[in-house]
């Protein structure tokens, strides 16, 4: 079992006034290695990390960094479409801004009587 210390894609979620900010640790990726998409109310972040070819083929004396494919999914609600999300990748951190669903849309049922 992987200890809490070693699983990849550690994430912070912060609630701000009008949006949620999702920050994911993704060290050693290229922007092209990260795929983010929304499906059925879930935000999927998939990345391929620490590619062998970029690191050379030495003999590993210590291997703690996660390598290979990894995916993490976050529920964001079905009200939010992919176009509303803003993402940036800098210093090994992926930041995704998720707007809060507009709260004007209420499906209240009128009660007569």
């Amino acid at each position: 079992m992987m200890s809490a210390k070693h699983y990849p894609m550690k994430s912070d979620i912060r609630e701000k006034k009008d949006a949620y900010l999702l920050e994911i640790d993704l060290p050693g990726c290229q922007k092209e290695d990260i795929k983010a998409y929304v499906e059925k109310g879930y935000l999927h972040i998939a990345a391929s990390m620490n590619k062998e070819k970029e690191r050379g083929h030495g003999k590993y004396l210590k291997r703690e960094c996660y390598f290979g494919e990894y995916e993490r999914t976050f529920f964001i609600g079905s009200d939010i479409s992919q176009d509303e999300l803003e993402a940036s990748y800098k210093h090994g951190v992926l930041r995704v801004k998720i707007p809060k669903a507009s709260q004007t849309k209420t499906n209240r049922i009128a009660i007569n009587g």
Binding site: A4, K5, H6, K10, S11, D12, I13, R14, E15, K16, K17, Y20, L21, E23, D25, L26, P27, G28, C29, Q30, N50, R55, G56, G58, K59, Y60, L61, K62, R63, E64, C65, Y66, H91, G92, V93
Partner: protein
């Protein structure tokens, strides 16, 4: 062999990592607080060692590397930027924020001029050449005897 058995002995770095990298506030708060990992890969090549350290979220200016008494020490500390300061309510917090340090034994023959380092996309890449420890030439300082 005179070549120092770099990195194979993880005595130093584990102790340093686990005890000193956790800020005191966190270590007392319990195991659930985010722990700095500074995960490292070490590869051996014919003529060098390559060390890759994960430091996501840090900027180049936040990282310091130093060689002293045969140990390579990496220090990283977040310097507050306006981007990070603007706060909000944390709903989930897994990432480590703060100061961390890790040391690796590289052998007494290595000086800071031998080591090359590069920081890109949250990974610090350090190249350490293989170098034989030169046996110190014993200097005999004889006392001149007169008479």
């Amino acid at each position: 062999m005179l070549v120092p058995s770099i990195f194979e002995n993880n005595f130093v770095d584990d102790i340093f990592n686990d005890v000193f990298s956790v800020p005191f506030g966190f270590s007392k708060a319990g195991a659930k607080a985010p722990v700095s990992s500074m995960n490292a890969d070490v590869q051996e090549f014919e003529d060098k060692y390559r060390l890759d350290l994960e430091l996501p979220g840090y900027k180049k200016e936040d990282i310091q590397a130093e060689v002293k008494d045969g140990y390579l020490t990496i220090n990283a500390e977040h310097t507050d930027s306006s981007e990070e300061k603007e706060d909000g309510k944390y709903i989930r917090r897994e990432r480590f924020y703060g100061k961390c340090q890790r040391s690796f034994y590289v052998g007494d023959a290595i000086t800071h001029e031998d080591i090359q380092a590069k920081f890109e996309n949250g990974i610090l890449e350090v190249i350490i050449p293989k170098k034989e420890a030169k046996p110190e030439v014993e200097e005999h300082k004889y006392i001149s005897i007169t008479g």
